[in-house]
Symmetry: C2
Subunit: 332 residues, 2 copies
């Protein structure tokens, strides 16, 4: 075989912001599957904010990527060689092969997926980790009652867009926060949120009061920092916060939060969560999500970078909020 594997390695840890120089792109031979193993050609790579945490060696919920290792990440692709009875050549599979064209697996953490009705790439987004994250954080942790107000930050993103649509399906009022008028129009006009606040418009508190006349009952927090601090002051008594991500705080010094007092005054329940702690909920979440996607009740949008060599710059753009919808890298 003359085909070569292409891999993106972590070359160095970011001091503050991520730079393309933190990555190293190398060509390596395509690995050979041993007994019990399968070789997968990846078609799409998912780029997600959590990867910023893995680039750092600060204490976190998962071990960091080692210098010189392939960057971690979710992938979907096709089995091209199999020594494992559970998989055959041509099977479409979702796995965690990271930032590379080929991957080897012994079959654990590898799922056969059906792309006859939906795009294969959907298994990286609304039918994958981001979709289940939305479902667990909204329905298990925030648990909105009908008529309550759900606010979600990064509302046009992979997680946020599903949160708002699920909130509407479950009878809540959905309000998003996104960056710029184009994303906000998409959130309201295409996704069907009740309102969307453009945080770049510079009057977050005024716009927030107008969009949440009855305050916030459920906050699905993806962003952190000054926006989160402002939202805390708008929480209702007995409200719930699912802390899913703090993307604005991944670079450098943490933002100093001034409104924690709201947690006491309003008897707020704030819960940090990681979707991988909730594995028993994945099947029920995915079943509901699949039904909603299949009949068009949940829409999604992808931002596609062409080719693995674009992954570093696409990832940097994601951290800066430049993507519009789920950030994917197309590998074929």
């Amino acid at each position: 075989m003359s085909a070569m594997n292409l891999q993106v390695l972590l070359a160095s840890r970011p001091k503050t912001v991520v730079e393309v120089g933190n990555f190293n792109i190398v060509e390596t031979p395509v690995p050979e599957p041993k007994t019990g193993e399968v070789l997968v050609r990846n078609h799409y790579l998912s780029l997600d904010p959590y990867m910023r945490g893995r680039m750092s060696d600060a204490k976190s919920y998962a071990a960091p990527v080692a210098i010189g290792e392939v960057m971690v990440g979710g992938t979907v692709g096709e089995v091209v060689a199999s020594n494992n009875a559970k998989f055959k050549t041509g099977d479409k599979v979702a796995g965690y092969f990271g930032w590379q064209l080929y991957g080897i697996s012994d079959g654990t953490e590898l799922q056969i997926v059906d792309d006859s009705n939906v795009s294969l790439s959907a298994y990286l987004g609304v039918l994958g980790m981001p979709g289940v994250t939305s479902w667990v954080g909204l329905l298990d942790i925030c648990a909105p009652k009908s008529g309550e107000t759900v606010l979600v930050t990064a509302a046009s993103g992979a997680v946020g867009s599903a949160v708002g649509q699920l909130a509407k399906i479950h009878g809540a009022r959905a309000v998003g926060i996104a960056g710029g008028p184009e994303k906000c129009r998409y959130v309201v006009d295409e996704l069907g949120f009740d309102a969307c606040i453009d945080y770049k418009a510079g009057k977050l508190w005024e716009d927030l009061k107008a969009a949440t006349p009855k305050g916030i009952d459920c906050l699905f927090e993806n962003v952190g920092g000054e926006i989160f601090d402002t939202l805390l002051a708008r929480m209702n008594p007995f409200s719930r916060i699912a802390v899913c991500g703090l993307i604005s705080q991944y670079n450098g010094e943490p933002y100093a939060m001034k409104n924690i007092r709201s947690v006491l005054i309003n008897r707020v329940r704030m819960q940090g969560f990681i979707v991988f702690d909730h594995l028993p909920r994945w099947p029920v979440a995915l079943q509901e999500l699949r039904e909603h996607v299949a009949c068009g009740r949940i829409k999604y949008r992808e931002s596609i970078a062409e080719g693995l060599r674009q992954a570093p710059s696409a990832f940097i753009g994601l951290l800066q909020g430049k993507n519009f919808g789920k950030q994917i890298v197309k590998l074929i």
Copy 2:
């Protein structure tokens, strides 16, 4: 009747710290009970940090005391005249008559208490609102498992001392934070905590690591500010925080918290609570507390100010951490 009532009124709202000038002490006639009402001569007044919030008109979980009104507060005393069949002269009662010698009640929110085995004043502390606060926050919200580490701030206070002793009874390791070596000795030697950290010693983080070698599983937070921020960085995965009070933040600008990221990284559940939202739990809490107090498993200490005219300065001392144990004002 020549006896006069003495009342402490809210004269003005504190701009930053509370001053004696924020109160006004007046003599007024003893009120006459109407049909269905009882007149109570208060024997003890409870002073508690939550009263600081009622002096302010910032949005909070309870309406502020109006200027010119009697300061709110829990009291215990004796029925001296009754037009209500449920109460007779001589009954000992716990109620919410506020900062005054006499009070009138129609019988709602008035409980007959038995002071044959315990001091009447205990119904303002370990057998009253502070005791139930400890019980609900520790057992319902933090829910420590046997062997876990419970940390409580303001550990020598009315709430904190019961939290640590309940934690020990339920099989957890109890670590306190208090101000000064005398309070810390009391917490360890008399209350039986496993360790106590003197936050005034100036090396909180080092002392915290030494006292919590396995991190913190349950945090019962009474203080807020820099101490709370430091503790956040010591929380274990899947740990719980009961936010009961933020006494250090009641004056002036809020402290800016830098370690909220720990909530996400460690999947912390942080819950603000007010004991009056948990009325159905009061009877079971008080029954357990009464048993522990009766057989000496839970000890308590009181700091007693003599006479209602001392209430303002005693309250200011409480906010500065000068009290040692439950702050009471003796009215007889």
